[in-house]
Symmetry: C2
Subunit: 360 residues, 2 copies
């Protein structure tokens, strides 16, 4: 029985999300290398294996270390942290490890300290503006390639980009437009470097563009992540419908405020994280309440949402259409704004079948 | 050596913060019952014990369970979650446990299931608007008292309020004004209930009002929490100076963008949490970089701040006055926006003396 905030996982929805993405990649003849930072679970990873996935992406060496127990081809899609060179070397001894680089000095450092081979992707910024080299930053790219060429154990595999600016979109058409622009910028790298590197891999991918089935022709590898669970943020972007969201936080009701039509939940920032949706019809939204359906859940209840979160408290607005017949000790289920962060905060999942799933 | 994001703790600053608050409570002749949700560490708790503190506050039964190993008088300052009645009963068998109630039905439930005595505080809303009964909500208060009176093992101890609206303040004068108003509202409860309950405890407290030494006369107990570490949010409110902040996140530099004067840190939302300061001179700020000082740190570097956080990335703006001579593999130290949430995300501390401190 649920007595404290618990992250519920609907295994069927999750498996459907995985199968749909595998099918999308197959249809487009693109290598799927899903990002596992969202679920961070060996068990959920096996659901991908059952669908033929054999290469993955993570965003830290700690995650690579965790998944190396069952996966032998891992890309760490985060600018390499050279201070962890010892862990890198240990992992490189065991699995095919790919690192992300955007600075020649990092290659020089790795070259000096690594005893085992690693693959290198050069990180490209296709317009998101977070990090990476410009697709036309040939001087810096060539400096990295030059440094790579000095050490046979350090192998250039290709270029990697994350079009995170699809997160600003609000429709499939907008996502498509951002994706096409990003892809066009990215493809120029093949033109320039293909002659020298005929096996060059172009790795691109973000959940929105992969979810809407945007055209990946010319791209070799896609790396969506959040689709395994989806969330309210992705739903607003247009990546998924609410009924594809595979996680919900079950939270006890601890106080009632019928006068202002609010409930207080045991469920706060330490459970959901502090991600929020700004500019929703109701204002700022930190989660949306769904209808109970046995151990699972159904649709969103319109107008019933988390209006604020503090460390342990969540405040729910109850709309006029919903009878205020709640009791202290009830359990509500809430769709998270950002499933990666909520899952990271909770550290495990309870399936709607009543089984605990562990994670990093 | 630091190789991944690490929450540094300056033990001397922390001990000074504790000593100052103990002194404030002594001067005001108010019982200090510090809130331990910020540090959540038995070891740091002992620093309070050394200062004569023997009663504490927490915000979950899990924390109460953790601290019950070394503390025998604990108030859970969160509306009681009746679904955890079994844990409540276990704790009540072992320590003096106080619960927070704002609904008579919760007392009826506890009365039915508890075998061991508990103390009850009625939660009052003195203006914050998060939860609690109005100070004039006599009908509801009396219904709770009536329910309490039916069971000798459930003892009414008094009223408890959190003036969280001091967090909207930007100066000591504003904090003082909010505090005085909150206190005035709160004190009316003593007038009304003192005859019936001569040992009535009025427990009030928030870090801002306690930090500025606001007048607690008439109040029996204060419960500040965040002061143990302080942070940028409290500094902006006016609770502390930057040099009182006792925690800083050490983060490796993983990418350089001299063209736009930005750095990418390994340090994101999973480390800092997603709390931010809106409306700072620079816009939205997610952390501020401080000057290195051996294993510790000194002042904030003006204009050098975290402008955004994603799951693992933090983007630092480097102001024109600061030479852009950073290298991949450097470690920067960053003051957090909200130390309670950052500490909760990190789960342990590295003191500037190089010692790990564990926590819940």
């Amino acid at each position: 029985m649920i007595s404290t905030p618990t992250l519920l996982l609907d295994e069927q929805r999750c498996r459907r999300n995985i199968a749909a993405m595998v099918q999308n990649a197959e249809q487009q003849q693109v290598q799927l290398r899903p990002h596992f930072k969202t679920h961070q679970s060996l068990e959920i990873g096996r659901w991908f294996k059952e669908n033929g996935v054999n290469k993955i992406t993570v965003s830290s060496l700690a995650m690579a270390h965790y998944f190396a127990a069952e996966w032998d081809d891992i890309t760490v899609a985060f600018p390499v942290n050279i201070l962890e060179v010892q862990l890198i070397d240990e992992l490189a001894a065991k699995i095919s490890l790919n690192l992300l680089v955007e600075d020649a000095s990092a290659i020089a450092f790795l070259s000096r300290y690594l005893k085992h081979p690693v693959g290198i992707f050069i990180k490209i910024d296709v317009g998101y503006g977070r990090t990476g080299l410009a697709p036309t930053g040939y001087e810096q790219i060539d400096a990295i390639l030059e440094e790579i060429s000095r050490n046979n154990a350090i192998q250039f595999h290709g270029f990697l980009a994350h079009a995170g600016h699809t997160y600003q979109c609000r429709s499939a058409a907008e996502i498509e437009a951002v994706h096409e622009q990003s892809k066009a910028r990215f493809l120029t790298l093949r033109e320039r470097y293909q002659r020298e590197f005929s096996d060059l891999i172009l790795s691109l991918g973000d959940t929105p563009s992969c979810s809407i089935g945007a055209d990946y022709s010319g791209i070799d590898e896609m790396r969506p992540g959040n689709f395994v669970f989806y969330d309210l943020t992705q739903a607003r972007i247009g990546s998924n419908t609410h009924d594809q969201i595979a996680v919900a936080m079950a939270c006890p009701v601890v106080a009632l405020h019928p006068d202002r039509r609010e409930l207080v939940l045991y469920g706060g920032g330490v459970h959901f994280s502090k991600d929020r949706l700004i500019g929703e019809p109701e204002g700022t939204v930190w989660g949306r309440v769904v209808q109970h359906q046995g151990p699972g859940w159904e649709d969103i209840i319109p107008g019933m949402y988390l209006r604020s979160l503090s460390q342990e408290h969540g405040i729910v607005v109850v709309p006029p259409e919903v009878p205020f017949d709640f009791k202290v000790g009830d359990v509500l289920k809430v769709l998270p704004v950002h499933s990666c962060m909520a899952a990271n905060a909770m550290k495990r999942y309870l399936t709607t079948d009543g089984r605990w799933i562990e994670r990093l």
